[in-house]
């Protein structure tokens, strides 16, 4: 009884062996009836599997495709007409945007903005100086 690994036979019919392995295996085959028989059986299975009849496609496949698409487009329509969480978010975003716009038109808003800008400019160098001093003390 030959103890050649069965995977070697399988690799051989798949043309998956390198040249050296192939040569050695073919040499072995010459003297091994057991392997030759196994290999022939495997080749027959391989051939039969490659030559299975082409699967016939049923006519109703086109109906199945259209049915699937109907389902998809119906779902899409429902999604579009439903008031979902995304719609709530976009309404809220629009409300906040509107409120921000409103603040811009409060009487005296332009003066406040001008003053605050001037105050910030005036204080910025002082703040920087204060920060530098603090850093020096910390050292």
């Amino acid at each position: 009884m030959c103890n050649i690994d069965d995977d070697l036979l399988q690799s051989y019919i798949d043309h998956d062996l390198n040249e050296v392995e192939k040569l050695l295996f073919e040499e072995h085959l010459k003297g091994c009836n057991d392997c030759r028989r196994k290999l022939n059986q495997l080749k027959l299975v391989d051939w039969e599997l490659f030559h299975q009849p082409l699967i016939e496609v049923p006519e109703q496949l086109a109906d199945i495709r259209e049915k699937a698409l109907n389902k998809c487009f119906e779902e899409l329509e429902i999604e579009e007409t439903n008031f979902g969480i995304r719609d709530v978010m976009s309404v809220q975003a629009a409300t906040v945007k509107g409120a921000a716009q409103f603040v811009r038109y409060i009487p005296g808003q332009a003066v406040i903005r001008l003053i605050s800008e001037e105050v910030m400019e005036a204080y910025q160098p002082k703040l920087l100086l204060k920060w530098l001093l603090l850093k020096k003390v910390a050292k």
């Binding site: 069965d6 399988q10 022939n40 059986q41 299975v45 391989d46 490659f50 299975q52 049923p58």
Partner: protein, 190 residues
Amino acid sequence: MDIQLNLIRQCKKNDRNAFSLLLGQYESDVYRICYGYTRHHEDALDIAQEVFVKVFRAIETFDESRPFYPWLKKIAVNTCLNYQRAKQMGPMISLDYNYENGLALIDELPSADNPEELVLSRSMEETIAACMISLPESYRMALMLRYQEDMTYDEMASLMDQPLGTVKSNVYRARNMLKGILKKNGLLEV
């Protein structure tokens, strides 16, 4: 511009006609994958329908720089595998479950009156088709991709996200199982 790419872009805009055309081009391939795996007409149609819905939902994510068919094939293969898992088929398959060729597993059992009659009256290809049903799902998928889809082991490994060794070993074992059954039935006298 490539006609198919144009079609895909139209699909991304939810164009109904474009979807019909695109899926129409590939529906036979999808059905053959599903049938090659399940060997059951109704199941294959169910899975094909599920594949079409998945394509519709995922088309937005399709990378236009890549070919379409391998992408579609991956969806079909995954849908097949999930469908079978959900149905708990494989080892729990009913003996009366009728396959498209009119055969059921019960026919595979030798009859008490004449045990060899059934097997001998059947051709090799019919026997292989019947045997495919009794293979474990991973083996069936491996054989379908290897022989029906004519894929290399590397392509199969990449499609199924499995190591190359696993893919090869599934094909080897499946072929050995078939060889064993055919030999037992005297169909491998070489």
